[in-house]
Each structure stands twice: as C-alpha cells, then as structure tokens.
Amino acid sequence: MSEAERKTDDDLHDGNSSRRDFLRNLGIAGASALISAGAPSESMANAPDTVSETSVQEFLQGHFVLMSEEEKKEAIARLEKRYSVQYSKKTTVADTPAPEGVLFGYALDIAKCIGCRRCVHACVEENNQSRGEHAIQWIQVMKIPKGNFSFSADRLDKGYPENSAVGDYGVQVGGNAYTPAGGLSTAHAQNYYAADEAVPDKDFFYVPVQCQQCEKPPCVKACPVRATFRDENGIVLIDYNWCIGCRMCQLACPYGARRFNWGEPELPAEEMNPKTHYFGNRPRMRGVMEKCTFCVQRTREGRNPACLEACPVGARKFGNLLDPESDVRKIIATKRVFRFKEEMGTYPKFFYYIG
C-alpha cells in the first residue's frame, strides 16, 4: 500500500468511526431526553413552584447576546426571581454593558507573590463557585523551583514588538522559536503544597494562573455554539444558559483555566454573593463551563477584581490597557514583563512581571 493510499484509508476510517460515535452519542442523548421528557410536564403540573417553571423557560431561551432588550429583561427577571427563592435572599443579576474605550489587562508580580492563596479563596467568595465535593476554584497557584525560570535580559528586545491601532504597548514577545528569550518551565510545579508550612519558601517562587483573557482565545474558536465569546473589553465570557457542556473549550485552553460543573454546584445560601452579573458570578448549574472573567460584575461597574483586593503583598494590578496612566500600562512600560506560554500565540492580556 502506498503512503498516499494508507493516508486516505486512515482518513476514511477516522471519518467513519467519528461519525459512528456521533450517531451513537446522539442516540444516548436522545434516549435520555426521552426518558426524562415526560418528567417536567408531569411534575410541573403538580409542583408549580417558581424554580422549576423558570428552569424550563431558562433552557428554552436564546443566546443572551442576541436577545432583544425586552427578552433580556425577562430573562434577568426570571433569574433574579429564581435565585432569590433558591438562596432566600434578594439577588440581583446585572447586565451592565461593557464600558467604552476600555481593554482590560492584568499584571502579576512574581517577585512579590508569596503563594498565600488568598486570591484563590477571595475569588470563590466573590464568584459563587461550588464548594464541597464538587469544589471549583478559578485560580491555581503553582509553586515552582527557582531554577525553572530563565529570562535573558540581553535578548528581551529581540522579539516582535506588538503594535496596534491604538499605539505601541512596548510589549516584546521575547524572542521567537529559534532564539527564545527564555521563559517559565512548569516542570516540578506543585499545585497542592500544604497549608501548614509558612510561605514563601525561599527556594521557590509562586505563579498564580487564571484565565489569561487571550486576545486570540482558542476556547472561543473551539466552542461549537458560541456560548463563549470575547466582549468589547477583551474579556472572554460565557452564556451559561447557552453552554452545552461539551468541554471543547477546556481542551483548547493551554492554561487549564476552564472549569466544568461535573455535579450540581454546592453553594451554601449564607455564603452566596447576591450581587451578580449575567455573564459573571451568577450561580451556575450542573453541566456548564465556568472560568475567571476578571470579575465582570465588578469591573464593568468600575471596581477592581476580588483577587486583586485580597492580595496582601500588592502583587496584582489591573486596569485599562488603552490608558497610558493605568497601573498595568506603567508596569508594562517600566518592568520586565512576560506572558505565560507566549509561544502558543494566544496573546494573553494577563502579564507576569518582575517588580
């Protein structure tokens, strides 16, 4: 068999098997839909409670971005009502629009970070992640041996400067595939270092990782239904009601930043944050993706993200990349800045620096 023939054969075979898989999966999904299809109408008839009514309406609704103002209002009222009942407190679901002329950026000083994980838990307090058995955290702090980091200052200016219509950010991608300027290796990274030893450990540095809000987000490309998209401020958001839970975005993300609700989220009513945004921290349901939004419910109203406010050493900076006076821009202009896994070409708006 020639090389070419074998290739076609493989292709064919792959094609067949994936189509088979697809149909088989459809069959399973269809069957489970059938089994459960009778249930809602039945229970709806004798259990006319707000929550079950709204969840059916919720699942019938369209993509939030494509809704008319009227539909948006209805969808939001529906959610507010359901959450308020479910968590026995008045809950607001905002759809505050993206502020104009703003591109959000984040900078994190790995010379200051001590790995205390306060950001991780602040995020959970703010963003209504699941606690308990199916606990979800959007930030992961890696403890990395100091030797893993190489950064060659003399090659820093040898990359491709990134220009844009609004000006030169002065960011160097730092070399290229042939002459890398150095970088960060995650070999031997510890994500579960114990809480009974004081930090920082002098032989390590700490790198918190969360959604990098890529300018070229692979997750957005991977989403088959556009449930996840980039907003006008450059933030990658998710319409949880439109998400089908296929987890393609999770596979596509080089940063491991996306989290899936494998089970029904467990969110104690007394810990629930009742000030939410539709695309942000409103409680999620089982079977949908979630991730860091730089706290869209706060930032669109002018406030800093919760992780920044919790950081005891001031290693976290946030602001408008289009404003030369913003903290992030000043850092990019004056400090040694790099992006995590820049070789992936994702162009994160999350910058790490050495302060």
């Binding site: 088959p224 349901m285 913003s326």
Partner: protein, 288 residues
C-alpha cells in the same frame, strides 16, 4: 458586533450550528431537570454539612499590623458585610466595602519624580488606631514619653532598652538598615507621637510613606505610581482608591530579617478524584 458576525456565518456552519443547538437543547433538558431537583430542596439545605462558624476577627496584609472586625450588613444595598475573613488563617479575603475605616490621604510631599499622582481620591486606613503603645493612654506615646516619666534621650546612639521588647526584641540588633539605623532616626526624640525624617520634618504615624520615602526613593516613586504596594476600590485612573501605606505590609523593625513577614497560606485545592495525596509533586525534591 457579535450579532453581525453570527448572522454572516456561512450557511453550512448554520446547519451544523443548528444541529449542535438541537443537541444542546437535549442536553440542557437533562441538565435543567437535574436543576429542578435541587431547586426543590429547601434553601436551608444548601449549606448542609458546612456551616462552620463565621470568623469575625481578622487581619489585613500582615499578621499583627491591622486587625479588623467583620460587621454584618455594612453595605445594606447588597446585604454585604464590610469584609469576610478566612476560616483557616483569619486573613481578610474579601471586601464588601473597600473604604471601610478609611480617611482621605491628605496632601502628598512634592517629590519631583515625574509621576503625576492624583491623590484627590486617595484614601488610607489610619495607623494610629492599630498601634498597641499608642493606645495605652489618652496622650498616645506621650502618656509615658512626656519628658518626666520617660526622660527625653540625650544621645542618638544605640543602647539596650528595657522596654518595647515585643516590638524590637533586641535593640542592639535592630533589623533595619544593617546597623546604620537607630530608633531616633525614625522616631522623634522630643515628640514621641511623631515620626521624624532626616531633615527634621515631623510626620504622623498615619503617613509613614513620607518617612520611608525619604530614604527609599525608588520604592516610594513606584508606590506613588501605583506599581509598588496596593490600591483597592476603583480601577480607573483618578478614581477613588484605598492605598495601603508602607507599614501595613512592612514591619519597620524587622524588614532586614523579612521584607514581608512569612505567613500561613490558605488551604490547597481539593485533590482530583482518585488522587490520594500530592506526594508525587514532591518527587525529586526536598533532597537538599
């Protein structure tokens, strides 16, 4: 923008999309039903098994520098407490009100460093309220340092002290300035309620940045620019922000030992299902 691009999607993609959406509907139905099940659980059940007592006394950046108390419903609009504390370390994790207990920063010294700081909307948390010795009597430090009870020191050279060992364990080994600094390089000899810089300017405890800045120009310039230190509240340039002052992070009496005092971290994330411990992470390490 999003709308347009979705509408202009080629028809093949539309067909594919429709298919997937149909799938989505089916899956969502399954999900939605599960959602209904929990929804019928009484709200109180949501927190079953995790009603650990709420921690109300906690500290901000470094332990022992700023203690704060949680106050319920401090922001009535959202039913927010002023802050939330960690159950494991008692550190502040979250601010309901970022300006809780702050006052306007006041005028900043004019340093020609080229930074156009905007301090009109700068707020700080006053330090005096958090100093143990400042609150021992009605006159602050002068309750003892009134010139009679404790005489005004005649010399500015280091000597062993029979007081304040909880603040400076060994005054002959002051952990700041590698032997070049003595208490009275920072504390006014004549008015103990004040700090003093090398030009003789008296500075209140609430504005330590003016003192530190007189020796640490570079850090101070970065601090003014918002690069060093911490600011919470709004992100916009010129917006209302709470600034952390130097001593909220640095202990001026121990910086040589630790620029920032080590502390216990918050708990690690739960191990993934099936992983019994995280020992694999340490393989090849710890053999120093």
């Amino acid at each position: 923008m999003f709308k347009n691009s979705l509408q202009s999607t080629p028809s093949i993609v539309v067909v594919a999309l429709a298919l997937v959406i149909a799938m989505a509907g089916i899956l969502a139905l399954v999900g939605g039903l599960n959602g209904r099940e929990t929804a019928t659980t009484p709200a109180g059940m949501q927190g079953k098994g995790r009603t650990a007592p709420v921690v109300t006394e906690c500290f901000e950046s470094r332990e022992g520098s700023t203690s704060v108390t949680r106050v319920e419903n401090a922001v009535p609009r959202y039913g927010y407490p002023n802050l939330k504390c960690s159950k494991t370390t008692q550190a502040v994790l979250w601010y309901g009100d970022p300006f809780d207990g702050t006052v306007p920063m006041g005028e900043m010294p004019d340093i020609r460093d080229g930074t156009r700081g905007d301090f009109a909307h700068a707020f700080v948390k006053p330090r005096e309220a958090h100093l143990t010795y400042f609150n021992m009597g009605p006159d602050g430090c002068r309750t003892c340092h009134d010139g009679r009870t404790v005489p005004v020191p005649k010399s500015k050279s280091a000597r062993p002290l029979a007081m304040h060992q909880d603040i400076v364990a060994d005054s002959m080994q002051l952990q700041h300035g590698r032997g070049a600094l003595w208490c009275l390089d920072c504390h006014s000899a004549t008015d103990r309620n004040k700090l003093i810089d090398h030009l003789g300017n008296q500075i209140g405890f609430n504005q330590p940045q003016k003192l530190c800045g007189s020796c640490h120009g570079e850090a101070y310039i970065d601090w003014r620019a918002g690069i060093h230190g911490k600011r919470i509240g709004t992100w916009a340039t010129g917006g209302k922000k709470r600034w952390w002052v130097c001593t909220e992070c640095h202990n001026p009496h121990t910086v040589q030992a630790n620029r920032f005092d080590p502390l216990l971290p918050e708990p690690p994330p739960p191990l993934p299902r099936g992983m019994r411990n995280a020992n694999h992470e340490r393989v090849g390490q710890g053999v120093h």
